[in-house]
Structure formats: structure tokens, C-alpha cells
């Protein structure tokens, strides 16, 4: 084996979460009342488009969660135990390296603009002068990697960028066709009545099918085109430029996706059991239990959140610094810090859910089917598990999905104020934090901020649209769109 698998804590939790989601999907698929809201959600065009975008992000996140340490080539003839690099890499690194080649990672000295061939600032360079003696000139040096294949950038650059962009789009389109074929083929195989893959394809474009295939396919096309262009152009230029230490910004942004996803999901994982169990306990048992839980969350709510989080993070930081022996690699340290951050955020944000659950449990415990169960002498725990929990589950799902984007944004804010993730871990917040200085330069370095902004916008917007679709599907009070018809349509017009 020429690598060693590294399992980080957040990886484990992320995969557990995935497994739980899959198990829930299997469970729900067999129960009509659990399946119905998801089927309703699957009919929402914006919801499914958002889900497509989220799947792309999730794919990046999952690939970035498979970690390993490569083997260090031993000197030939020197026997000894295999030694592995201290740097922890992920499958995503491997993929990016394969696609972007030399552009990935730290490949320049400092800033360069998107698609640039020359550095962003002048440097003193020695050049042979007309008289043959070396002379000091101040000019923009060529980049080590970005656009290095061009002989005369001034003339060739525009044509080169255009051809590669077009080639990228063609690749993207072909990939899209293949993907669409696989997806629709799988769907058609499961739904024979829709007339095979051709029938589904036809329905998709006429908007007749049961699923909003048209919006899914269009979203997918946009993603494929972007990915194609990123692959062809990104392997020749720094598509989104480089940052202060010469790292490719596209690479940084892709690596930040996992951080955002981890914060968005694992925090919820910490928060759900607290919020749900304490909330239901408070509502169902009442009395002093209710009083105690209420006091806790009221107190917690009345302390400014950022203050508490900053204090906790600093304490954690002290503990980590005092015990360098805990971690084998820097990646493990950064990961531990991320996990703690999730935990701290989770501990601070369960109160809203708890209050919601308490109110719901208060209502449900007076319902007659709970009374009937009590009349049968069913134990309290069984009542909570069988009668209360299944009937608040939809609210839990709604709030988990809605909280996701809030958490992603919170991470950005925290990293911006310096109490977020480890500085060695890329995250949107750190990118924005770095941009604080870049924006004040003249000319301005805008691309890190722009890249972080667009990636985050795509993620959060998709998450919010998805959350809206989920809420609409799970909340029976919101009914489908209505049309005004009949006699009164005229009168009220």
C-alpha cells in the first residue's frame, strides 16, 4: 500500500450522518405517510433544482472527507518501516490535482489576477540590457504556472482562453448528456409506465412529467458547463486568480466547501438531540422539569451568542495549544478544532428548537390519543417514543434543513472575527477575513472575496430554496398555488 488511510473525527460523524439519512430514506419509503411529503417536495421545481446544486456540493464534501497520508518514497536500498508524509490529503485533492495539474495548491509566489499570465505587482528583475550587461528593471514577471504555455501572451492570450473555454463547454455538454442519460435511464427503469427513457425525456422538456425534470436537467447543465470550463481553463490558468501566498483561489474555494458542509450538518447533529429531548421532556412532564429547562434556555438566550462562542473557542484554543501531543498531524488538530466549533455552536443554538418542541409536546400531551395510551397504562417513555416523537418529526426535519444555511453563515462570521476554524483550514470565512486587507490595496484584489461570495451564495441560496420546498411539503397549511376563476375573476379584476 502506498498510502495510509486517515480517519478524522468529522469524517466519521459525517458518514454516520449520511448513513442515518439513508436509513431514514429506506424507512420512509415503506411508509406512505412519511413518503408523501417527500414526494410532494420532489414535485417542486425550485426545490429539485436546489437539491441538484446541493448534491454537487455534497459530492465535493464527501470526496474531501476521504483522507489519507501518502507514502514517502524510501531511498532505494534503504530498508526500514514505511514512512508516510505528515501532510494529510483527501481524495478531492487527488481529483483536483489530476484535473488542474500544476495549478492546484500553492504554485505562485503571490497575488495574480484571474486568468493572468503575469504577476499582479511589479518586481525587480535582472535583465540583460542592450549593452549585454544585466540591468535591474521593475516589471510584472511571468507567472510560474499560470499561462506558462504561452510564448507571447500579449498576442496569443485571448484566442487561447476562448478556445479552451469553448472546449470546456463542449466537454461539459458531453458529460451532461451522459449524466442525463444515466439519470433518466435509472428513473425510466423504475417507472415503466412513463414510456421508457425517450418518454421521460420528452415529458421532461414539455414539463409534463411527474418530476420537474426540466429544471433538474437545466441546473445540471449549468453545473456541467461550469465544471468543464473550470477543468480546461483551470489547468492552464489560475481561473480565479491566486491569493497572497500564491495559492489557487479556485482550489481554496473547493476545499472550503467541506468546512461549510461540516459546520452546517454536524452542528445540527449536536443541536437536535438536545433540542428535541429537552423540549419534549419540558413539554410532556411539565412541573419542575419544565421550569428547570426553561430557566436554562432563557438564560442561555439572554447572553449574546458571539460572546459565549468566542469565550468557548478561546478556551478550547488554550487547551489545544497546551497539549500539542494530542495530535499526530496539523490536519488532526484543525479537525479537532472544527469539531469543537460544531459542538460549541450546537450547544448555543438548540434553544429555538427546544422551545418549538416544548410547545408542540404541551399540545400533543393533551391530545386524546395520548390520553388513551395513558388509560392503557403505557409507560411514559413508550408514549414519548411512539406517540409524541413521530408527530413532531416533521418539525424537526423542517428546522434542521432551515438551520443549515444559518450555520454556514455563522461560520463565515466567526472566522471573520477570528474565532472560527483553524487558520490552516480553508473556509469561506477565512477567505473573507483575508480579503479585509486585500480590499484596501490599490488596485484592489477582489477575486478571493468574489470567489468566496459566489460559492457561498450558491450554497446558501440552494439550501434556502431547498428548505422552503421542504417546509411547503411538510406543512399542510400551505396549499398549492391557486388560480382565480369563474364569475368573480372579472368582478375583482
Amino acid at each position: 500500500m502506498n498510502f495510509m488511510v486517515v480517519v478524522l473525527w468529522t469524517d466519521v460523524l459525517l458518514f454516520i450522518l449520511l448513513a442515518v439519512c439513508l436509513a431514514y430514506a429506506r424507512h420512509a419509503a415503506r411508509r406512505p405517510h412519511l413518503r408523501a411529503p417527500w414526494a410532494r417536495m420532489a414535485r417542486s421545481a425550485s426545490g429539485m433544482a436546489a437539491a441538484t446544486v446541493l448534491s454537487a456540493f455534497a459530492l465535493i464534501g464527501v470526496l474531501d472527507s476521504l483522507h489519507y497520508r501518502p507514502l514517502i518514497e524510501a531511498k532505494p536500498g534503504v530498508p526500514g518501516p514505511a514512512r508516510y508524509a505528515v501532510e494529510v490529503r483527501s481524495v478531492l485533492d487527488l481529483v483536483i490535482q489530476g484535473v488542474l495539474g500544476p495549478m492546484a495548491g500553492k504554485s505562485e509566489k503571490t497575488y495574480s489576477a484571474p486568468l493572468a499570465t503575469h504577476a499582479f505587482s511589479r518586481e525587480n528583475i535582472e535583465r540583460p540590457g542592450p549593452d549585454g550587461k544585466p540591468r535591474q528593471v521593475r516589471e510584472y514577471p511571468r507567472l510560474a504556472n499560470g499561462g506558462a504555455h504561452l510564448k507571447d501572451p500579449a498576442r496569443e492570450w485571448a484566442a487561447d482562453v476562448a478556445t479552451h473555454a469553448v472546449r470546456g463547454m463542449v466537454f461539459g455538454f458531453i458529460a451532461w448528456l451522459a449524466l442525463a442519460f444515466v439519470l433518466l435511464g435509472a428513473y425510466a427503469a423504475n417507472h415503466q409506465e412513463d414510456g421508457g427513457i425517450a418518454g421521460v425525456w420528452g415529458d421532461a422538456w414539455s414539463g409534463r412529467g411527474r418530476l420537474p425534470w426540466r429544471s433538474i436537467l437545466i441546473t445540471l447543465l449549468v453545473i456541467c458547463l461550469c465544471a468543464g470550463v473550470a477543468a480546461t481553463l483551470g489547468s492552464r490558468y489560475h481561473l480565479l486568480g491566486t491569493d497572497k501566498v500564491g495559492q489557487d483561489v479556485l482550489y481554496l474555494a473547493l476545499k472550503s466547501v467541506r468546512t461549510a458542509l461540516i459546520i452546517g450538518t454536524l452542528t445540527t447533529l449536536v443541536m437536535l438531540p438536545m433540542g428535541v429531548l429537552l423540549g419534549i421532556a419540558a413539554g410532556y412532564f411539565g412541573g419542575w422539569i419544565d421550569d428547570a429547562i426553561q430557566y436554562v434556555y432563557t438564560t442561555l438566550n439572554s447572553i449574546p451568542g458571539v460572546l459565549l462562542i468566542a469565550a468557548s473557542v478561546l478556551m478550547m484554543q488554550v487547551a489545544i495549544d497546551a497539549n500539542p501531543g494530542w495530535f499526530a498531524t496539523a490536519a488532526e488538530r484543525a479537525d479537532f478544532r472544527l469539531l469543537c466549533l460544531c459542538f460549541i455552536l450546537g450547544m448555543m443554538s438548540w434553544t429555538g428548537l427546544c422551545r418549538l418542541m416544548r410547545g408542540e409536546a404541551l399540545k400533543l400531551r393533551e391530545l386524546e390519543y395520548v390520553q388513551a395510551a395513558r388509560a392503557f397504562g403505557v409507560s411514559r417513555l413508550a408514549i414519548i417514543v411512539r406517540h409524541i416523537l413521530p408527530n413532531v418529526m416533521h418539525l424537526v426535519i423542517i428546522s434542521a434543513v432551515m438551520d443549515f444555511s444559518g450555520m454556514v453563515l455563522t461560520e463565515a462570521v466567526l472566522s471573520y472575527v477570528g474565532v472560527g476554524v483553524d487558520p490552516s483550514m480553508s473556509s469561506f470565512g477565512s477567505m473573507i477575513n483575508a480579503a479585509r486587507l486585500e480590499m484596501s490595496r490599490d488596485p484592489m484584489v477582489w477575486w478571493s472575496l468574489a470567489a468566496a461570495f459566489f460559492f457561498m451564495l450558491a450554497l446558501v441560496l440552494a439550501a434556502n430554496l431547498f428548505a422552503d420546498a421542504v417546509r411547503d411539503a411538510f406543512d399542510p397549511r400551505l396549499s398549492p398555488k391557486r388560480r382565480r376563476r369563474g364569475l368573480l375573476a372579472k368582478a375583482s379584476a
Partner: protein, 671 residues
């Protein structure tokens, strides 16, 4: 008489996920000045839709497809919305079922009336205030000057409905639409509100469209009656001829399904099947699948309107082919002969309750100190014999439901003794209690809240069995569940379905099966039929009677519906403010009531037989509000509302007077 409101060919549709619902199909009628036109029907028949269509207050998903609504020459369906706003309230007033939600909680009653008056330009400023005061007086609000500045939450339900009426009538509309105006109220309050409406109509001659499900209210109020079924009007006639001789087979069946003293001891007539879904296109008669007289023509051809063949002078008509063919359907079944005494198995007492008290502490302040008690149940004694039915009767807030929950220890009783089969349950250790739970079970009022929507029917029924370890294995429990379902008249495949797939009546059957699963000796039925339509109620009452006969279970029937009590109770206990004021056998309490409260209660029930000639509630003292159980009046609790009260009554709570071996009354002046 000229028509104030004319409705012609009204078609209303509602868009739903399951297709377009034909909520109203070709509804036509007219109302004359000073006339009360009642629209009756079971839930979902379209009676409320009629009102909302006239007012153009339809929900978003609904629209009027075609038709005509004329109000004194105004074509309401063609008016622009801003003119329609003038019609609402000014020309047509409306009162709703739920007085609590129809008043604005942040405005005083006076302000709300003044607002309406100013909105319609009738009066302004001080004049408007004076008028508002006058209206509060007219609707019988005691001490109106003070009530003007009260907020709705400070008023009782009956008072709120009065304010609502004042609000609807202060602009003196030509038409008043009353949508189930008394359904949320107790009988004594209902009687007052109905009287008030009659009085007001007499004095200002408005036309009234009364929408209700209660045939008793119709008999009491209406001049003309229309019966609706599945979105269509199927019979229209004057009150006298409608009640004397219903023409449509559905009407006849409906009358036969009404419980009452006449049906005592015999099963009620029921209507097989269910109302067809309104998304269907009807080719023939909508009632055909359920009609005993259906013949070939009924399926093929929708019946038109036909006059009653008997008498050319009335305009009593119905949509039924039989009328045209000259065969008038037989009158409602005469139940008189069958009105035998209820079967009774005379045995010893199964349940003996002595002096049961349930007090809820009132806590205030930072440390939640107990500052007083709500005496929901304050010393109730009951005896139920094995296999007998005891009806516990009273108005809302009297504590009858709390008695039921206290017996089952769903709420811990504060004091008193509950002896079941000779074993003391009050304050018994948890283990004894758990064992005793299978002896008593409960069936609740709301069939929609009483079943867990996330559990299959089979699981729901098996839950109790599993909890008591009955039916050792899963297979045994499944078999048992199947046989229970058969007993309550549900198909065996119901076991694998979820509650939302069943109608209200079917759910109530499931709830009964769930209770029966643990083989109880007593079932507490807490208003089991009050959320159901008359025809479904009849099925459930028959089912309970059958079960009692076959299994010998005793029933504690908690209800406010005296007609149901007359139909099935062996014994009756009347409750007022946490105490039982009169108890005895059904015959004694219903025929020879001694307590003034029982007498008032019985007099207030609107009856079909009585018609409009029924005596009005002469006794204005009954109008007073129900006192708070946190602070009951000294002496006899009823003395604040009793017309026979004397100084003596306020002195001490009256001891039980024993009228006969079974009949006792808590009143000093009982006659």
C-alpha cells in the same frame, strides 16, 4: 311578499389536489322580508358554502362558476369588490359559529359597533356611541353602559354571540345570514340566542338565512326549510309541511335517525353508505347508492323538482323521481310500538364513586404560590351497575369531562373514593392502578384527535393489548384485532391502513375497538357523538347498544345532548358547577324533574315536535353567566340563576332530598 334575496342556479367549485369539488350545484331559492329560511344538512353538504358564496367570502381555492345572487335588484356577483364591501354589513349582515374568533380581541365591544356604524355612514361620534349602547341593550346585554368598554375576552361565550349579533344588525341590514349561530353554545344559552333572533326579526322585519345541522333549531325558528345533500338542494318546503311529511327519502331517513325518547330501547334507523365524493360527475340521483327506493331510472337520470302530490296549495317540493311517479315515499318509521324499556341486567354496583373531588391549584407570582383552587369536581358521588348506562349531563364547564378523566386517573383526584368491583382505586399504589386500567376504558369526543396519525389501525388496537400482556404473541393480537374490527363493523383490511383514510364515524369505531381490546367492564364515553352527523351518530349509538347487550359492559355516557340521553340512558345524573344536583332513573329525571336546573335544561332543548310554539325561556334570570368554579356562589350554586331562589338558598348547600329509592335532588324548594 317580495323577495329580498334571490339566488338562482348558483354553482360553486373548489380546486383541490384530488380534483375540482362541486361544492354547490344549481342552488336556487329566495327569501322574503321577515322570513326565516333555514338551510339544513350534514357536514360537507354545502350549506356554509351557500352563505360564503352569497357574501363572496369564498376561500382562495374556490370560485363561483355561474349563477345569480340578487339582493333587492343589486346583482351581487357583478359588483366590483369595493361596492361589495358596502353590501357586506350594510345590506347583508352575517354571524358566525365561533363568537370567540369573530370579534376583534384588541377592540372594546363598543368601539367595534361604532366602527361599523361609521364605516357605513350611519352615525358618527357621540351619536354612534349612543346607537351602539342602544344595540347592546337590544341584544339583552346586562349593564350595557359598562359593557361598552369591555374587551371581548371579558365576556362569556353567550355574551360574545350577543355582541356579534349587535354588530351584524346595528347597520340594519335587510338580510341576516346566521351560520350555525348557536352550535358552539350550551342549550340554555342557545335558547336565549334563538329567542333574541326571533324577537329582533319581529321588530325590524329582516330576512334571515339560517344555516344549521340541528333539526330542532330549524323546527323552532324556520318559516321555510331547504334540505341539502351533496352540494344540491333536494327538498324545499314550509316548516309545517316539511316536518309533518318529508318528501325526499333522505329526509325521511334523517328523521328516523334522530335519537329521542321515542326511539328508546330500539335501534335507530341508519343510512347505509356514505356521501359520494363531490368530485364525481353525477349522472343520476346523488342519493341513489344509499336510497332504499332507488330504481333503474334513478341511476340514469337526475331527478328534477316535483311538487308534493297531496296538496296543491303549498309549494313543498323535492328532487325525487318517486314524486313524479305518484308514489310518495312512506313516512318516517313510527317507532312507538318498539319503545320498550331498555334491557337491564340488575346486578350490584360495578363502580361506586363517593365524594370525588378534583381541584386544580391556581398559581400566581414568581414562586408559583397556590392562591386558590378551581373546583372542577367538588364532591361527586355516582353508582353504576354492571351492564347499565349512566348518563352524566351538564353544560360545558360543569366538570363532567373531568369526572371521567378523574375516574380513569388520567387526572389525579384530590379526594374521594372510587371503588371498582369492591376494590379501592383512589390513591391505590401504581401497580394496582396499572392492573385496574384494563377494567375501565375511554372513548373520546374528537375522532380526529383520538387516533395517532402515525400508527396503523392494527397497531393502535394492539397497543392496549400489548401493554397488558393480553394475547401472548403478535399473531394472537392480530387475530384479536381482526375480530374486534369485525365487531365494530369495519373491514379486516382496515388493520393495515392509517387513520386519515377513515371518516369521522369510522374513526370513532376504531376508537371503540381500541377500548374494547382490553375487555373493559366499563367504558367512559366522553361526548362520543357530538362531533358526528346525525346519521353517523345513529350508527355509533346502535353500535354501543349492541356491544352493551353482547358484552354486558357498563357505560358512563358524558354528554350535553339530552336527545341522546333520552335514547339510551338507564340512569341520569345532572351536574352543575362540579356537583351533581339531581340523579335518578331516566324516567324520573326526564319525566318528573325536580331540580329547577334540570327543568330549565329540558325546557331549553329545541324539539321537532314542539315547533315554533315551544315555550320561550321566560325566565330571564337564567341569562346570567355561569359562575366561575374557582369561586362558586355560596349556598346553592344555582341560586344566581334560579328563579325560585330565596334567601335561604344562599345560606348553605342544600342536602340531598330523597324523592324515591333512586331519585335524589339537591334543592330546598324542589317540588
Amino acid at each position: 311578499m317580495s323577495a329580498v334575496l334571490e339566488i338562482g342556479g348558483l354553482n360553486t367549485r373548489i380546486e383541490t389536489a384530488g380534483g375540482v369539488i362541486r361544492a354547490l350545484d344549481d342552488v336556487s331559492f329566495e327569501i322574503a322580508r321577515g322570513e326565516t329560511f333555514a338551510v339544513v344538512g350534514e357536514s360537507g353538504c354545502g350549506k356554509s358554502m351557500t352563505a360564503l358564496s352569497i357574501m363572496r367570502l369564498l376561500p382562495e381555492a374556490a370560485w363561483i362558476d355561474s349563477g345569480r345572487v340578487d339582493q333587492e335588484g343589486r346583482r351581487l356577483l357583478e359588483l366590483p369588490e369595493y361596492e361589495m364591501r358596502d353590501v357586506r354589513g350594510r345590506r347583508i349582515g352575517m354571524i358566525f359559529q365561533e363568537p370567540a374568533t369573530s370579534l376583534n380581541p384588541v377592540m372594546t365591544c363598543g368601539e367595534q359597533i361604532v366602527e361599523v356604524l361609521e364605516r357605513h355612514g350611519i352615525a358618527r361620534g357621540a351619536a354612534a356611541r349612543a346607537r351602539a349602547l342602544d344595540w347592546l341593550q337590544r341584544v339583552g346585554i346586562p349593564d350595557p353602559a359598562q359593557r361598552m368598554d369591555d374587551y371581548p375576552f371579558q365576556l362569556s361565550g353567550g355574551m360574545k354571540q350577543r355582541v356579534m349579533i349587535a354588530l351584524a344588525l346595528c347597520s340594519e341590514p335587510e338580510v341576516l345570514i346566521a351560520d350555525e349561530p348557536t352550535t358552539a353554545l350550551d342549550v340554555t344559552i342557545q335558547a336565549q340566542i334563538l329567542d333574541l333572533l326571533v324577537e329582533l326579526q319581529r321588530s325590524n322585519g329582516m330576512a334571515m338565512l339560517l344555516i344549521t345541522h340541528d333539526l330542532g333549531v330549524v323546527a323552532r325558528m324556520a318559516h321555510r326549510v331547504a334540505l341539502m345533500y351533496a352540494g344540491e338542494m333536494i327538498e324545499i318546503g314550509s316548516r309545517a309541511s316539511f316536518f309533518a311529511r318529508p318528501l325526499h327519502p333522505y329526509a325521511a331517513r334523517l328523521f328516523a335517525a334522530l335519537p329521542g325518547s321515542a326511539s328508546r330501547g330500539s335501534p335507530l334507523m341508519t343510512i347505509p353508505g356514505m356521501v359520494p365524493p363531490l368530485t364525481t360527475e353525477f349522472a343520476g340521483c346523488r342519493f341513489a347508492p344509499r336510497c332504499a327506493f332507488a330504481h333503474a331510472r334513478c341511476e340514469a337520470e337526475a331527478p328534477g323538482w316535483h311538487m308534493a302530490a297531496t296538496d296543491g296549495t303549498t309549494s313543498h317540493r323535492a328532487r325525487c323521481h318517486l314524486l313524479e311517479e305518484g308514489e310518495v315515499p312512506p313516512l318516517r318509521a313510527e317507532a312507538g310500538a318498539a319503545a320498550a324499556a331498555l334491557p337491564v341486567s340488575q346486578q350490584g354496583a360495578l363502580l361506586e364513586v363517593r365524594d370525588l373531588k378534583v381541584h386544580f391549584p391556581i398559581r400566581r407570582g414568581l414562586f408559583r404560590r397556590t392562591v386558590g383552587h378551581v373546583r372542577a369536581v367538588d364532591g361527586v358521588s355516582l353508582t353504576i351497575g354492571a351492564g347499565r348506562t349512566l348518563a352524566l349531563v351538564g353544560e360545558s364547564g360543569c366538570g363532567k369531562t373531568t369526572v371521567g378523566k378523574g375516574l380513569l386517573q388520567l387526572i389525579a383526584p384530590s379526594a374521594g373514593s372510587i371503588r371498582f368491583d369492591g376494590r379501592e382505586l383512589a390513591g391505590a399504589p401504581a401497580k394496582v392502578l396499572r392492573q385496574s386500567r384494563s377494567l375501565m376504558q375511554i372513548v373520546f369526543q374528537d375522532p380526529f384527535a383520538s387516533l395517532n396519525p402515525r400508527m396503523r389501525v392494527g397497531e393502535i388496537i394492539a397497543e392496549g393489548m400489548a401493554s397488558f400482556g393480553l394475547g401472548v404473541d403478535q399473531a394472537g393480537r392480530d387475530r384479536e384485532a381482526a375480530s374486534l374490527l369485525a365487531q365494530v363493523g369495519l373491514p379486516a383490511d382496515a388493520r393495515d391502513r392509517y387513520p386519515h383514510e377513515f371518516s369521522g364515524g369510522q374513526r370513532q369505531r376504531i376508537a371503540i375497538a381500541r377500548a374494547l381490546a382490553v375487555e373493559p367492564k366499563l367504558i367512559v364515553c366522553d361526548e362520543p357523538t357530538s362531533a358526528l352527523d346525525v346519521s353517523v351518530q345513529a350508527q355509533i349509538l346502535n353500535l354501543l347498544a349492541d356491544l352493551q347487550r353482547e358484552r354486558g359492559v357498563a357505560l358512563l355516557f358524558i354528554t350535553h345532548n339530552l336527545a341522546v340521553v333520552e335514547h339510551l340512558a338507564h340512569d341520569i345524573a345532572v351536574m352543575y358547577l362540579g356537583r351533581i344536583v339531581e340523579s335518578g332513573s331516566a324516567d324520573e329525571v326526564l319525566r318528573r324533574p325536580r331540580h329547577p336546573y334540570t327543568q330549565a335544561l329540558l325546557a331549553a332543548v329545541p324539539r321537532i315536535e314542539g315547533g315554533a310554539e315551544a315555550p320561550q325561556v321566560a325566565d330571564r334570570k337564567l341569562f346570567a353567566d355561569l359562575p366561575s368554579p374557582a369561586n362558586p356562589p355560596a349556598g346553592c350554586h344555582f341560586h344566581t340563576r334560579c328563579s325560585r331562589a330565596t334567601a335561604e338558598c344562599a345560606a348553605a348547600y342544600p342536602e340531598a332530598r330523597i324523592v324515591s329509592q333512586t331519585h335524589r335532588v339537591h334543592c330546598i324548594h324542589a317540588q
